[in-house]
Amino acid sequence: MSQFTLNVNGRNRSVDVAPETPLLWVLRDHLDLVGTKFGCGVGQCGACTIHLNGAPGRACLTPVSAAAGAKILTIEGLSEQGTHPLQRAWVELDVAQCGYCQAGQIMTAAALLADNAHPTDEDIDNTMAGNLCRCATYTRIRAGIHRAAELAAAGPEGAR
């Protein structure tokens, strides 16, 4: 066991776990941040997508030792009240079915939009290919990202 200080959603949190423990399980079991999901544990589904220093990463493949010192952003920290343009677009377009994959989808899409404010369908397809939606809500995820781009362009309260 080792002591780690993690910066999660802007707050420092201490945990005492084995260094190889995946960040996924530290978030879920130790910090009670369960929005980051377990889907495959091998980097193939994207349900555990978080941001590490602004870049999307797989929490299931990130040992806690590698996350210490980085700025970790999870779905719970994406916005205060669920008002990130992607979250607003997701609610507006009713994207989810079971919803299990959607935190990961939104985190991947958030990194995409941060880089590319107006992605094309092709940009979206390429970026989102690593995120599985078992309920197959791909049509709406694609539409949701376009809608979020519009909402973001219109500002925090715009394009309602």
Binding site: T21, Q87, D94, Q97, I124, T137, T139
Partner: protein
Amino acid sequence: MNPAALDRRSFLRLSLFTGGGLVLGVSLRRSARAGEAEVARVTGVTDANFAPNVYVRIAPDGTVTIFSARPEIGQGIRTSLPMVVAEELEVDFHTVKVVDAPLDPAYGNQTAGGSNSTPQSYLPLRRAGATARVLLLTAAAQTWGVPVTECFARSGAIHHRDSGRSLTYGELVAKAATLPLPDPATVPLKDPKDFKLLGSRVAQVNSLQIVTGQPLFGIDQKVPGMLYAVYTRCPVFGGKVVGANLAAIKALPGVKDAFIVSRTFEGVTALVPGVAIVADSTWSAFSARQQLDVTWDEGPHAGDSWASFVQQAQRAAQSGALKRVRQEGDPDAALAGAAKVVEASYRFPFVSHLTLEPQNCTVTIEGDQVKVLAPTQSADEVRRVVSAYLGLPPANVTVTVTRNGGGFGRRAQGDYALEAAAIAQKVGAPIKLTWTREDDLQHDHFRAAGFDFFKAGLDAQGRLTVLTQQHVGFDPHWCPGPNDYPSNFVPHYRFNLGQLANNIPMGQWRAPRSNTSAWVVCTFLDEVAHAAGRDPVAFNLELLGHKDLVYSPSGKGQPYNAARMREVVRVVAEQSGWGEKLPPGRGRGLGYFYSHLGYVAEVAEVTISKAGDLTVDRVVAAVDVGSQILNLSGAENQIQGSIIDGLGTAWHGELNIEKGRITQSNLQDYPMIRMPEAPRKIEIHYVKTDYPPTGLGEPALPPLAPAVGNAIFAAIGKRIRELPFAKTDLSWS
């Protein structure tokens, strides 16, 4: 009013809820009145016993709470069914609170599956909402001393037309609760043309919690003092534990206990022997498992393989010794006399459900009381098996259903709950059992594989006069059957069934049976149409005939509504541009199937590059699920999802078996469809008919695989007779 004074058999029950307010329970018992009996006969809706299924509560502060008693598995039921109540009640949906009802025998059937929730609930829920509205109208009219006919309900209040006065529902509940219950038969339901909410687009009620990562799912649950468990089963189905390095495992960091579970439970939901590891966190349990070394007695099925199943199936089909399940006319003579005979055989593999949330369950045992927290489609099944295993009365087992991270039929079983209960009992502490993805993929109740061998005979006009089908499979419950379409449409018909000895767990998988039956049947019919030199749409419409309702020759069972199917086929042909010429490498194909009370036809449009890359450009669907779409947003999401799921499964879904075990283990060797392969265009056309609304979790899936397979044939002339499509080289020149 005293609830006990009410007639228990009345269709609606009324009582004072703790804390005041008006509460209505609604029964799903089918009334014997002629109109409903007719509905039951035509649509196959069956009796669901007398039991309240949902409660409406209107509190004195005006809060309207609608209790939802069926699990949310992503099918949208937690939104669409409360919308039905809200429509008749005349309340604004965004003001309604939807609360999950606990599992209680008083609620009757609380299972989600088979697209049954909508047809079983629609009319009773309308009556619940309408009865509450009538009581509130009466209460207001009496308060004002005016005729009820001068009052109307809107947005959670009763209004007096002439004076403009109004009273909110909250202000009226105390009086409404004292009024006699109206005869449900006389309660006026709204004219569907006045619906404002039903048929509109409503985002599902938990949207905000979903997008902010709130702990909705089973795997997110935590209870005080909880430990974390993982369970290792024999990779060969039916194997047993001989021994394991338990002492070494117990010495690993974080591990609290490790033991063999040998007291099993037999049944449809079974507890298989295995090794439990219990630890202080999920990861401690998972990582300890990497050191686990188990000696298995693999049992009699350790030599099973897919390759040998294929050989056995072919031998069985050739043997002529399969069991004859159904025969009409004289198929042998008809084949001998046919102007043309067409023969083809098909095979499809086992597939996994792969709910994205792996199976999991949290169990607390305190004395003789058991609390189960489970993402499950069937709390009843969970309660049944857990109480039986622990030797307790069912009433001692409380099951709380969480949101399910996907269902697709997988969570109709209760195996994860049995395992969690067995482990919690031994450990003496609450535990959460989490399956790894590998556990989940390899120890599923799989979609059954199968082999189908067809022969058809055509007369001189190219009409289908005889059809024989031999199915060789693994479980007669979950395979194409003798009464599937088009069994009742061909004068000479035979269905033979062969069963391969096996020990593979199987179960319902989205649109069970239909998902494979549609593919073999509609693919073969396409082959027959082409052999006859006929256009597939014209050929299939002709096969569907001129009768509206088609019964089996015995007259038993539900009739097939050929009129509804002809209409969706006609609409999909028209909307897809069927018949327009496409360049080489592009093609359109038709699939149509009746399942789970829905009539659906789909046309897929594909492009295949010379190198053999498949793109599904467009899917057009014509869907008849009755008179009313409840939530347009949810319906569209289900249809799009069914189409993409149907495509992904037909394109990639395949489990292999060697040495008695599944050879795939996780997503790297069991590919699932991703966004780039999803059709860019999915067009949905609702065909509204005068039948009660039915569910959409399933019926749009079965037609997709044959539609795409038939489109591939139209594009490049290659006929795919084995799933998944990815096994066939589609290159052409």
